[in-house]
Amino acid sequence: MIKVLFFASLRDQLGISELQLPCEANPDTNSLLDNLKAQDQHWSKALKQKQLMVAVNQTIATSNCLLQDGDEVAFFPPVTGG
């Protein structure tokens, strides 16, 4: 299973902060995102934002990233801390 987290405005838009997805063959962050977008139109729209950020196992992923069973993947809007 892959643990998927959403934060801030994205979590509010999706109405969910966490979900578990079964681990497919050769998964990566791009295919995971495509699967999430395929859930419905609302998800597709929310996850289409240009500046969506992805972290794999609590480290920012700047390009597509291979995944394995047990990984934690987080999606969130650009950060606004400091």
Binding site: F7, A55, T59, I60, A74, P77, P78, V79, G81, G82
Partner: protein, 155 residues
């Protein structure tokens, strides 16, 4: 020292810790505060969310990176989370070094990182019951770019 906390912090206490070593010649501190106005909207309160676990990991990594890049003697990062009022302190970065250049550069680098990469999100309350998530500023991303550009040029 790295700390993500809901409690307030005290500048003098953090400064006194930073200047303990007898060879410290320069201390630069940055404090970020809740302003009463952001992008033309008046603000009455702020809520800060973070990604527990990743935040601490990200901050630890960036402090290590900063220590490799600059010759610094001590570094403190405190970032608050939860609900904050107007003029409250949000974030503190303090750097101690032999000479001023390292302390300034390192402190500014840490702040650029905190603004663009560390998983914190602000929700501003403009009146009771009405709040919105703050959009990232393009200028913040440009600020971090100058450091990575510098890195790339140095390699």
């Amino acid at each position: 020292m790295i700390c993500v906390q809901s409690e307030d912090f005290n500048l003098q206490v953090e400064y006194d810790k930073l200047r303990q070593q007898s060879n410290v010649g320069a201390v630069v501190t940055f404090s970020g505060l809740v302003r009463d106005c952001n992008l033309g909207k008046s603000v009455c309160a702020l809520t800060l969310e973070h990604y527990p676990g990743m935040t601490e990991k990200a901050l630890t990594e960036i402090v290590e990176q900063a220590k490799q890049r600059w010759d610094i003697l001590a570094c403190t990062v405190i970032h608050r989370v939860g609900k904050l009022a107007l003029q409250d302190q949000i974030v503190f970065v303090g750097i101690a070094s032999l000479h001023r250049q390292e302390a300034f550069a390192c402190c500014e680098f840490m702040m650029d990182y905190l603004k663009t990469k560390a998983p914190f999100w602000k929700k501003e309350c403009i009146k009771p019951g009405e709040s919105y998530w703050v959009d990232a500023r393009e200028s913040d991303h440009q600020a971090l770019f100058k450091w990575t550009e510098h890195l790339n040029n140095a390699e």
